[in-house]
């Protein structure tokens, strides 16, 4: 059980590392150029991995509807925005605001998709997150 725990923590660590590196690249180039390199380098690495391990294009993949591919372009904007913001408000603020935004919008998406939720926990969670966002805002005006 310790192994999966380490793996999950490392995955989170790498999210932070990726944003830090892309943020640094954006300082020298631009957020969109940084996002381009992030995707191009990632694509190259995954292509090599897929060719080595096999199963890059698994059976059934060709049946995916076009909108399943919309995640890529959204990711471009996501990485560009993160790279722009991190040099301006710092890594901690970027991380917690992105996490907060992801959680609150995730709850909204769950509501739209009518996914089962525990109402009190979800409601309280959203309130705590919004309170945290307000705390960062008061700091911004200082």
């Amino acid at each position: 059980m310790t192994m999966p725990i380490l793996v999950a923590c490392l995955a989170g660590l790498l999210v932070g590392l990726s944003r830090q590196l892309n943020g640094r690249l954006a300082v020298s180039t631009s957020p969109l150029i940084s996002s381009f390199w992030n995707h191009a380098v990632g694509f190259a690495a995954l292509t090599v991995l897929g060719l080595v391990v096999g199963g890059l294009i698994p059976p059934g993949a060709e049946n995916a509807p076009w909108h399943a591919y919309v995640g890529g372009p959204i990711g471009v904007v996501f990485v560009a925005a993160g790279s722009w913001v991190i040099a301006r408000i710092g890594a901690v603020n970027t991380a917690i605001l992105v996490i907060g935004g992801q959680m609150v919008s995730g709850v909204l998406l769950d509501l739209v998709l009518a996914a089962p939720t525990t109402l009190w926990a979800t409601g309280l969670g959203v309130i705590l997150i919004l309170a945290g966002v307000v705390v960062t805002q008061t700091q911004a005006k200082r």
């Binding site: 999210v15 590196l21 892309n22 890529g72 710092g90 959680m103 969670g125």
Partner: protein, 160 residues
């Protein structure tokens, strides 16, 4: 902008929060792609379409970026490796999700890892970004947002 370190403004905070919404959509669509293929295919496909989209966006905005690129410091080679870290994240996440941790545990621990890294990154100004000493307010906001996230993650998927 006249100073090299602009003061944080409301728009930066709103952009970061809104970016979280993009992440939700991205995860949703990539998950859809993964259902037809697998985790590797989903990430590969998203990175591929993302690369093409980035080129299109850059082509559209080409005329707008002509000024002051010469004054900027060149990027060190490692700054180009953010994509490697991102690609590795996908594999580690799919490993963890398929362990006893499941999705909720993976997400919760992932947030913890992210926050620990960002604290260190700000504290020491890692990888060439500005050093920022986390304030008490930063830590209060961090505690509130993590607690709220934990509640949402750990109770997701259960009927009330």
């Amino acid at each position: 902008m006249t100073t090299s370190t602009p003061r944080p403004r409301l728009i930066h905070f709103m952009a970061a929060f809104g970016t979280g919404g993009l992440l939700t959509l991205m995860v949703h669509f990539n998950g859809e792609l993964g259902r037809y293929g697998n985790a590797l295919f989903s990430s590969w496909g998203a990175h591929g379409t993302g690369t093409v989209a980035a080129i299109l966006f850059l082509a559209l905005l080409y005329r707008r970026r002509e000024r002051n690129t010469a004054e900027r410091l060149p990027a060190p080679f490692w700054a180009y490796l953010g994509g490697l870290s991102g690609a590795a994240t996908v594999m580690l996440t799919s490993l963890a999700v398929n362990s006893p941790l499941a999705l909720a545990g993976t997400l919760a621990l992932g947030l913890a890892g992210q926050v620990v890294f960002s604290l260190g990154a700000d504290l020491w100004g890692l990888f060439g970004l500005p050093r920022r000493r986390p304030t008490l307010r930063d830590l209060a906001a961090l505690a509130l947002i993590l607690a709220g996230s934990a509640l949402i993650i750990l109770f997701r998927g259960f009927e009330s």
